[in-house]
């Protein structure tokens, strides 16, 4: 069986309207993949940046997969949330990106989007906060029912991921 190691960090996020942010992340893989060690989901700390407005998390990722096939290559999905001084949490963006398929160190910028409500919902969101959220978070990384959604662009999540492959050459796979 071939093995894949994803070793790196969720570095931080930029381009969001406010900067007291945290991120819930997860890695989704297809049926042929088995997680051997590491955590496949987690939540970062909340960061209040003092210099500039980029929120830095430096959340480590160290997962080890074994696989029998190339389908279902790992996808990393993120949800960026904002925590205000009262402790309330508000969604600021959804995003996903595939884990890189060539070995080595990669700096990834994962773009995010926010579901957009109708204009009465947007008006109340301006005053009270909150906003529509996805009922089924699978939609973050699949394209199946996306045509029903209307969204706006949100900021970018920055990741640095190193990819280590084992025995791929043995099966004739070129990466």
């Amino acid at each position: 069986m071939a093995e894949v190691h994803l070793i790196g960090q969720i570095v931080g996020a930029s381009g969001f309207p406010r900067s007291s942010l945290f991120c819930k992340w997860g890695i989704h893989t297809g049926g042929a993949w088995k997680l051997l060690s590491g955590l496949r989901e987690g939540q970062t700390q909340v960061d209040h940046p003092q210099l500039g407005d980029v929120a830095y998390w430096c959340h480590p990722i160290d997962v080890h997969f074994a696989t029998k096939g190339l389908q279902g290559w790992p996808k990393l999905h993120v949800q960026v949330w904002h925590q205000d001084p009262f402790g309330r949490r508000e969604l600021y963006g959804y995003g996903f990106c595939h884990a890189p398929s060539s070995p080595g160190w990669h700096a990834l910028a994962c773009v995010t989007w926010l579901p957009r409500g109708s204009w009465p919902e947007r008006l109340s969101q301006l005053f009270v906060g909150g906003g529509p959220q996805l009922l089924n978070s699978d939609l973050i990384y699949t394209g199946a029912d996306r045509y029903r959604l209307q969204t706006t662009a949100a900021g970018t999540v920055h990741l640095e991921l190193g990819v280590l492959l084992r025995h791929f050459a043995r099966y004739g796979v070129e990466c």
């Binding site: 940046p49 959340h59 480590p60 990466c175």
Partner: protein
């Protein structure tokens, strides 16, 4: 010459040397740093120092405002499994208004795994209390929140309940050499030439 074939290796080696070059903390001065390595169960250091404490440095009067340590790192690990790849955890300390030693930042980064020279600029953050009263009392008493064990910074569990404040950057340079990773079947770089156009989020930070 011996006719016996060489036995297949089961262990690979990772040799890292380099330095903690400098830091940028616009609000603080007179800082020193400590580093330590955090690694998984399958890893063991064979030679070199796992931890160290640097000198105390202060900013020059010129416009650069960098704090330079130039502090050497030299360690070799052996392992059977890339899981738990070593991370270097850096903690920076300095005096507060009343002269107590308080922590100014924690940061961690994985040791790069492609052989060659690498430079990383890592953001440094301190834990922060969420209540304003707690912040005032800690400023008066000189006891700011800190992690009981800096190695917590290298782990992902338990972070969802912490609030932190990022307030500086540290630049570290590494030279990495590995042995027997190819023989064990690991690919660490792509088949074609390495992509030179990778830009990290913190690349614009260092000004030298």
């Amino acid at each position: 010459m011996a006719a016996a074939a060489a036995a297949a290796p089961t262990v690979f080696l990772l040799m890292v040397n380099g330095q903690i070059e400098s830091a940028q903390f616009p609000q603080f001065d007179d800082l020193y740093c400590k580093y330590c390595f955090v690694y998984g169960h399958d890893w063991a250091p064979t030679t070199g120092l796992e931890e160290g404490i640097s000198q105390i440095t202060s900013k020059n009067r010129d416009a650069q405002q960098a704090l330079v340590w130039n502090f050497p790192i030299d360690i070799t690990f052996k392992s059977t499994n890339p899981s738990g790849w070593p991370q270097i955890v850096v903690s920076v300390y300095g005096p507060d208004l009343f002269g107590n030693d308080v922590v100014r930042g924690y940061g961690a980064v994985h040791v790069p795994f492609t052989p060659g020279s690498h430079r990383r600029t890592i953001p440094m953050f301190v834990p922060e209390s969420t209540s304003k009263l707690q912040k005032i009392t800690s400023w008066l008493m000189g006891r700011h929140p800190e992690f009981t064990d800096p190695k917590v910074v290298a782990q992902g569990e338990g972070r969802e309940v912490t609030t932190v404040r990022s307030q500086g950057f540290v630049t570290i340079s590494f030279n990495v050499v590995t042995k027997d990773m190819k023989k064990l079947g690991y690919d660490v770089s792509p088949s074609d030439m390495q992509n030179p156009s990778i830009v990290s989020l913190t690349d614009g930070i260092h000004n030298h």
